[in-house]
């Protein structure tokens, strides 16, 4: 029987989805981890790619075949190889970005949330101002105007993605920084650095991890959008976003030239998103089940 809002009672979502699991992970998360691991392997061992840069006008725009699993692009380059080779650039940027945001965000959030007062006031002000400014837009403008390269792009994106992370992490810190166990630590006379390290950090660590993965997702989206527009990546290097842009015109020839990198980007972003969300769900529930 369903009650007033049509909610069905009895078994909950938790019990039904329990069937589709791999170990303690839901199947989607397990897949996501697998995909991410695979791409990371490609990024690290780029020797797996077979001559991604070899141009051969005679083989231009061929469809998938035994020689070229995904066919060739307009310049006759093997798409499959370029996808594997492109993993390095496509993963490096988001990794740096996510690391920067997660680490700096965590430190700032802990300081602002734990100490409060003026530190918090300043941080909150800055966050409020920067929060609504879209990072991608700023990156497009600044990178475009100055002609900056990869390093500048990552720095700009880090700065403008920080406000959201700081906001969320700070909220998580503030919910916990004044709980009795934290105050007990103070009362015992524990030095502040020790309290932050051994009490606060373990408690917000899951949130920092979730922030890392979610920021990775934004990073993939933002960086690939930038390279799609031709900003931030040198031409010719295999990079998934660049590949989508370059091969758009040849959609009619070999659609895989454009579709494959697009699918790779989406797969990467979705995987890290799923992982980040799974972490969030698990630890939010743990926090509530007190």
């Amino acid at each position: 029987m369903s009650d007033i809002l049509g909610r069905r009672r009895g078994r909950t979502a938790a019990t039904t989805s329990r069937r589709l699991r791999v170990g303690s992970l839901p199947i989607s998360t397990a897949l996501a981890i697998a995909v991410l691991a695979l791409m990371a392997l490609c990024a690290v061992f780029d020797g797996l790619a077979h001559e991604p840069g070899r141009i051969n006008a005679l083989e231009s725009l061929q469809g998938p075949s035994g020689d070229h699993y995904l066919g060739t692009d307009q310049l006759g380059r093997d798409i499959f190889a370029r996808i594997i080779a492109g993993a390095r650039t496509s993963l490096l940027g988001p990794t740096l970005l996510a690391l920067g945001v997660a680490v700096i965000g965590a430190v700032v959030a802990m300081l602002a949330g734990y100490f409060g007062g003026r530190i918090d006031a300043v941080v909150s002000r800055v966050v409020d101002v920067l929060y609504s400014i879209p990072a991608l837009m700023v990156a497009i403008i600044l990178v475009g105007v100055t002609g900056g390269g990869f390093a500048m792009t990552v720095v700009i994106l880090t700065v403008f993605n920080l406000p959201l992370a700081v906001r969320n992490l700070r909220a998580a810190v503030m919910e916990r920084a004044h709980l009795p166990y934290m105050e007990a630590a103070r009362t015992l006379g524990m030095p502040t650095w020790r309290i932050l390290l051994t009490h606060l950090l373990p408690v917000i660590a899951p949130f920092v991890m979730a922030t890392f993965f979610l920021q990775f997702t934004y990073g993939v989206v933002e960086l690939s959008s930038l390279s799609f527009l031709g900003l931030g990546v040198p031409p010719g290097a295999p990079d998934w976003g660049r590949m989508v842009a370059d091969n758009r015109a040849s959609m009619f020839g070999n659609a895989w030239a454009t579709a494959a990198p697009a699918i790779a980007i989406v797969a990467l972003a979705v995987s890290t998103n799923l992982i980040g969300e799974w972490i969030n769900d698990r630890y939010e529930k743990a926090g509530k089940a007190r």
């Binding site: 909950t12 051994t198 009490h199 007190r290």
Partner: protein
């Protein structure tokens, strides 16, 4: 007989009440038969409340009493068919003679509000924060032809209803809930709940979140509404005293079942079930101090782990083998008095005799004061323009146990925090072991002295320990600071001292019960080897039986270790049991102080008297 509006006047709670005799024939306002509420875990059905049978006659009030894990709240929700997701109910519920559970959803919805009403515990979350009082109270009302009421009509209706619950200020109609105090919100909620004049009102712990003085007013209000509307009242509570003072009949629940039911008078005079008896005894009495409080060993079994025979057998001092073998039935042992215990008749005499192990001790004579450890003079604490503590003078001497008593907002917690150095006084002096915590700068050495002198144990067992660290590590934090080298051994010692085995050190807080966590919290305070332990409402969030355990432990520790206590609480009965001297605080000031026994037996100040009078004792209050 309904709708007679009496003027709010001076009333008292009493336990003698006749059922309205202009009702002809006792069609119960509420009849519950065989109600079973189950949850699901891992695909298996878990019964939470089983085969509940309840009855409320028109104008009668019943109480469902139980500790946590008894299933009382879930029963209330099931009666209304408002169970949270994941729980199912089976059984029969009839309201005013009409079927409730067996009819369709829309019909049930019509009956809710009109026939049966519900008031919940927390006045802060029950009301919609974004709607004005007038709109919320009259939301369910319709004109005779089924249309919504006009604005003027709504205001008129709301004014009437608010007057009924004792609110006469017109301005309240346009207020938002956040602009009202807790007691006012609870009244508004009650007005909204009974707006359609239902046959029965179910109130789930309606006063637990309120101050004791407000609690009394709300209970009186519920009682008056019951009489003027001829409404049945079901009061869910964990507090036996509240049950006895407000209700005609009591159902005692344990681990999902009713274990005893009788009229308030009979149950109070002579409980026939070992659990009810133990519960009554575990309540700290207000009028006298006991050498030690009765506790119930063991803990309440969770829904999946209930024993096969009598569910209370593992903890029962009268249990025999036969008790453990078969489940027990509810059997009437006296007229209108049923008990779920096969030995009820055998043990009647023993239960009725006053327990010989418990004797009231004489009130502590004024001790020779030992060394003065804490000296507070003129301490003030302001938050913006809000005054939390307004000039308090407190002394704490070595070896004694001092109480700080007051309602919420009295400043007792703030003052306690000042003593352990968590809060700085805005002005005034707070001297602990000679160090003035109100000074503008305090050296490291001085802080070390303070830390080694005064430590604190906190109120909320669910957040007093870091969920991501083991129990042992919480204790080692403090041990490390005393310079002790063998931390593991130290942690084991501390655990044993508070009555837990040493292997608890590896466990995580989530694996411990509330009482166990509070013990660890006390051990943590002791890890610093302090002279004073400030206990901030350490038993307030615990079940009565667990509360007794902790209080006994604290007394034991005091005599074993020569500790000094500063005990913060709102519960005067607890204060009687554990303190020698007491300071009564109101709105940031100390209004009365003295020896506990004297202050409680012969209060001088009007506020203190009001505080004592508000406590439901279950006897005639005058």
């Amino acid at each position: 007989m309904k709708q007679t509006m009496e003027q709010p006047g001076a009333e008292q709670l009493d336990t003698e009440r006749a059922v309205d005799d202009c009702e002809d024939g006792p069609t119960p306002s509420l009849q519950v038969s065989g109600l079973t509420v189950s949850g699901w875990r891992g695909g298996k059905r878990l019964p939470i409340a089983e085969s509940m049978d309840l009855q409320v006659l028109p104008g009668e009030s019943i109480a469902i009493v139980g500790e946590s894990g008894s299933g009382k709240s879930v029963t209330a929700r099931a009666v209304l068919d408002l169970l949270p997701r994941g729980l199912d109910a089976d059984g029969d519920v009839q309201i005013g003679g009409r079927d409730f559970l067996k009819i369709g959803g829309p019909e049930r919805r019509t009956m809710r509000g009109r026939r049966v009403a519900f008031v919940m515990q927390d006045p802060f979350t029950m009301l919609n924060p974004l709607q004005r009082v007038v709109d919320q109270v009259t939301a369910a009302l319709r004109s005779p032809d089924g249309k919504r009421l006009s604005r003027a009509a709504r205001r008129a209706e709301c004014t009437t209803r608010l007057a009924e619950v004792g609110i006469t200020d017109e301005a309240v109609l346009d207020r938002y809930p956040f602009e009202l105090s807790g007691g006012m919100r609870q009244r508004v909620a009650i007005a909204a709940a009974v707006a359609e004049d239902p046959d029965v009102l179910i109130a789930d712990e309606p006063t637990t979140a309120l101050d004791v003085t407000t609690q009394k007013e709300v209970l009186l209000l519920l009682d008056r509404l019951r009489r003027t509307h001829g409404m049945g009242l079901v009061l869910i509570t964990h507090d036996l005293r509240v049950a006895f003072s407000t209700c005609d009949r009591v159902y005692v629940m344990y681990a999902g079942e009713v274990v005893e039911t009788a009229s308030s008078k009979d149950l109070r005079a002579g409980p026939r079930h070992p659990y009810s008896s133990a519960l009554l005894q575990a309540e700290p009495p207000l009028r006298e101090r006991l050498a030690s409080l009765t506790t119930i060993p063991g803990s309440v079994p969770s829904p999946g782990a209930r024993p096969d025979g009598c569910r209370f057998a593992p903890r029962c001092s009268f249990a025999q083998d036969a008790c453990r073998e078969a489940a027990q039935e509810l059997v009437e042992v006296d007229p209108e008095h049923a008990v779920r215990c096969r030995r009820a008749v055998d043990i009647a005499v023993e239960l009725a005799a006053p327990p010989t192990t418990v004797e009231p001790t004489g009130s502590n004579a004024a001790n020779d004061h030992g060394e003065r450890l804490v000296k507070v003079r003129g301490a003030r604490r302001l938050y913006g323009d809000k005054v939390a503590v307004a000039g308090a003078d407190i002394d704490v001497f070595a070896g004694e146990s001092v109480g700080l008593v007051g309602e919420s907002g009295s400043g007792k917690t703030t003052l306690a925090r000042m003593i352990v150095g968590l809060t700085r006084p805005t002005s005034g002096s707070v001297e602990v072991a000679g160090v003035d915590l109100g000074a503008s700068s305090i050296s490291r050495a001085d802080w070390a002295t303070v830390r080694a002198t005064a430590q604190m144990a906190f109120q909320d067992p669910s957040s007093t320990l870091n969920p991501r660290r083991s129990v042992g590590s919480a204790l080692k934090d403090g041990l490390r600071l005393t310079g002790r080298k063998d931390l593991d051994a130290g942690a084991a010692e501390l655990l044993e001292r508070v009555g837990l085995s040493a292997d608890y050190a590896q466990r995580r807080p989530s694996q411990l019960s509330g009482g166990e966590r509070q013990r660890v919290a006390i051990a943590r305070a002791l890890s610093r080897d302090p002279r004073i332990v400030v206990c901030d409402e350490v038993v307030s969030a615990l079940d009565v039986s667990v509360q007794a355990l902790i209080l006994n432990l604290l007394r034991e520790l005091q005599s074993d270790l020569g500790l000094t206590y500063v005990f913060i609480t709102h519960d005067l009965a607890v204060v009687r049991q554990i303190t020698d001297r007491v300071y009564v605080m109101n709105q940031g000031e100390v209004v009365e102080q003295g020896l506990t026994a004297q202050v409680l037996d012969d209060p001088q100040q009007p506020y203190t008297r009001k505080l004592i009078d508000s406590i439901p004792t279950g006897k005639d209050s005058l």
